[in-house]
Symmetry: C2
C-alpha cells in the first residue's frame, strides 16, 4: 500500500532530525516535498513542528494540498510563509533549514522576520533522501526500462549507420521517451561522435554521426520523479578504442565487485585509479567515478578518492569509469547500481 510508504517516510524524517537535535524544520526542497506528500511540481513548504510534518502552500494549490492522504496535514498561507510562521514562532525549538537549498535572500528574510538562528539540516536531509525504499525502486526499474528502449534505438542507429545528426538523434530519442510516458530527460543528453566524445559534457551538435567510429551517448530519464543516468559508447573499426573499451569494462567489473553496504566510496575510486596507473592513463580520467541517484541525478554520495562517505544499503549509485583522449575520442561506461548488504546489483544491464 502506497500510503504506508508515505507514513514511514514522515516518521523517519522526524526521527532522523530529532537524532540530530533538530526539533523544528522548514524546507521548500521539491524532492523532499514529493517524497513526503506525493505532490509533484507543487511549490510550498514542509514544516516539522512538535514531532509532526505539515505541508504549507498558497491558495493556488489548496486543492492539491487538501488531497494529501498520506497522514501529513496541510495548510494554506494567504500572504507569505513568513507571516504564516510568525504566530508559531514560540514553538520553534532548535530550528533548522537546508543552507544549500535556500537562497541567501530567503535566509535573510526568514531569520530577520522570525528573529531566529537556523542551523543547517542539509546533511541530514541529503542522507535521508539518498536511501531508496520499495516505491522508489519500482519507479527506478521503470526508468531503467525506458532508458534501455532509448539505448536500443541508439544501437540500431549506429549499427545501421544512419545519416542523422547528434541533435536530431536527441530529438528522436525524446519522442520515444514521451511515448513511453517517462516525464522527461533527467538532464540534457550527451550525444557525441568521434572527437566530440573526448569532451565529457559535449552538447549535441549539427554534426552528422554517419560513418563515425565512436559514438558516446549519456542520458537519463525521470519516471515518477526518479532519475536514471546511463552511458554507452559504441565503436567500430577503431583498434585503440577497442583496447580502451577493455580497460574501462575490466575496471568497471573490478569496482562493481567491491560494492556493498559499508564500503568506503574512496576505496572504489582508488581501485579504479590503480587500474589507470597500471596502464599509465591517470590523466585521461577527469571526473568522479560516480554519484548517488534518486530524485536528483547528482546526489550524495560523490564517488571520489577525496570523499569520506561509506555506501549504505539501498542507495542507488552510478559507476562511470571512462578514458578521454583529446581531439581523438572518449570511452565511458556508466551503469546504475543498487547497493545491497553484500553486493552491488547492476540495474542497467542492457
Amino acid at each position: 500500500m502506497n500510503a504506508e510508504y508515505f507514513l514511514d517516510r514522515g516518521k523517519e524524517l522526524v526521527r532522523l532530525l530529532k537524532s540530530r537535535k533538530v526539533h523544528s524544520f522548514l524546507s521548500k526542497n521539491p524532492s523532499l516535498i514529493f517524497h513526503l506528500t506525493g505532490l509533484h511540481e507543487t511549490p510550498g513548504y514542509l514544516l516539522v513542528l512538535n514531532g509532526e510534518v505539515r505541508f504549507v502552500t498558497d491558495r493556488r494549490f489548496q486543492k492539491e494540498a487538501a488531497e494529501i492522504k498520506h497522514f501529513i496535514s496541510s495548510d494554506i498561507f494567504t500572504n507569505s510563509i513568513v507571516t504564516y510562521l510568525k504566530p508559531l514562532r514560540k514553538e520553534f525549538k532548535q530550528p533548522a533549514i537546508e543552507y544549500g537549498r535556500v537562497t541567501h535572500a530567503e535566509y535573510l528574510s526568514l531569520s530577520e522576520s522570525l528573529k531566529c538562528t537556523f542551523t543547517d539540516a542539509g546533511d541530514a536531509v541529503n542522507q535521508f533522501l539518498s536511501v531508496t525504499d520499495g516505491l522508489q525502486l519500482d519507479s527506478f526499474i521503470r526508468a531503467a526500462d525506458v532508458t534501455s528502449e532509448l539505448f536500443n534505438y541508439c544501437k540500431k542507429v549506429f549499427d545501421e549507420n544512419l545519416a542523422i545528426t547528434e541533435k536530431e538523434l536527441a530529438y528522436e530519442l525524446q519522442s520515444i521517451l514521451v511515448r513511453n510516458a517517462a516525464q522527461k530527460y533527467s538532464f540534457e543528453p550527451i550525444i557525441a561522435a568521434d572527437e566530440n566524445s573526448a569532451k565529457p559534457h559535449h552538447t549535441p551538435s549539427d554534426r552528422n554521426i554517419q560513418d563515425c567510429k565512436v559514438l558516446l551517448v549519456d542520458l537519463g530519464v525521470i519516471y515518477s520523479g526518479i532519475c536514471s543516468d546511463v552511458t554507452r559508447t559504441y565503436i567500430r573499426n577503431h583498434p585503440k578504442a577497442g583496447r580502451i573499451e577493455k580497460i574501462v569494462h575490466n575496471g568497471f567489473k573490478r569496482v562493481l565487485g567491491k560494492v556493498n553496504a559499508g564500503v568506503k566510496v574512496s576505496e572504489l575510486a582508488q581501485m579504479w585509479k590503480a587500474e589507470l596507473e597500471k596502464v599509465n592513463m591517470t590523466h585521461n580520467f577527469t571526473h568522479a567515478l560516480g554519484h548517488g541517484l534518486g530524485y536528483e541525478v547528482h546526489q550524495i554520495p560523490r564517488i571520489s578518492e577525496y570523499s569520506k562517505e561509506t555506501l549504505k544499503e539501498n542507495q542507488i549509485i552510478t559507476l562511470e569509469p571512462a578514458l578521454y583522449f583529446e581531439n581523438e575520442f572518449g570511452y565511458r561506461y556508466e551503469c546504475d547500481i543498487l547497493v545491497t548488504k553484500d553486493s552491488g546489483i547492476n540495474l542497467t544491464v542492457f
Copy 2:
C-alpha cells in the same frame, strides 16, 4: 552580426553595475551566463573585475570556454571558485553577488573564505535581463511560432472531439515541440478539461477530454533560451463560459490598450480589477495579471496592483486575465506582449 550583441551586453552590464557603485561582481546565474557568452547549460561563473567581464569554469568545460568569441575572456579554475578568487581578493572593490541566486551555503563559503562583505546586485541583474534586444526578439518570435503550432493541434483535437486524455495530449504536443526544434517546454504544461480548468495550476491527468465543454491549455516553449507562455481556453455549448469568455477578452483588450513604456504595472492590474468589480467577480481571479518573460518564464515585472514597477521599452510581458468557478470551470486568456514606447504588441495572435 551576433557578436556585436554580445559585446554590447557585456558593456551594458559593466555600465549598469558601475552606476550602482558595484565595481566587482560574481554570478553563476545561468541566464546571465547565456546572455553574455552564448554558452548554454555550461556551469561556471561570470566575474566582473576592473571593468572587464570574464567567464570562469572548471576543466570539464575548457573547450567550450575557449570557444567564446564574444569579447569576453575566459579562464579555468582547477580546484574551486574560492581558491581561484583568493589571489584576486585585493582587486575586489565594493563586490556584489545576487542574494537571490546563491544559496546561503554558498554565501557563507564565499564571504568567509574571501573575508568579503558582498552587497546584493540582484535587482540590477533582474532589470538588465528584463529588457530584450533584437537577438532575443528573433528567438522569441520563433518560440511564438512553435507555440502557435502546438495550439493549432489543441484546437484540432478539441474541434474534432477526439478521445484523448489530458496527459496524452501533453505527450502529443511534446512530440510536435521536439520536431520543431524548440528545446523543450518552458514549464510543465497545464491541460485541464471542464472542472479541472477551475484549478489555475492543474497537472495533466488521465481524464479523457472527449465531450468536455471547456478545455484550458497553458503552455510555453523555450527557443534558443527564450521562453513563451500562452493560454487558450476552448469552449462549446456552455452559455456561462460563453459569457465569461466575453468578460475576459474585453478586459484583455482594455488592458492591452493601456500598455506602453512608462505605464505603472499597478495601473494595468487596477484596470482589470475594475472590470471584475463591474460584474462582481473579484474573488474569481486568484493570481497576478501577468509577468515578465525572457530567459525565465517568470521574471520581473510582476503585474499586480501591489507592484511598484513601470513598464520599460522592449520588455516582453504576459497578460493573463482569467476567471475561475470552483468545481465548474475556469477561463484564462494569456498572450505575450512586446512593450514599445507607445503601445503593446501582441506577439501571440493565434
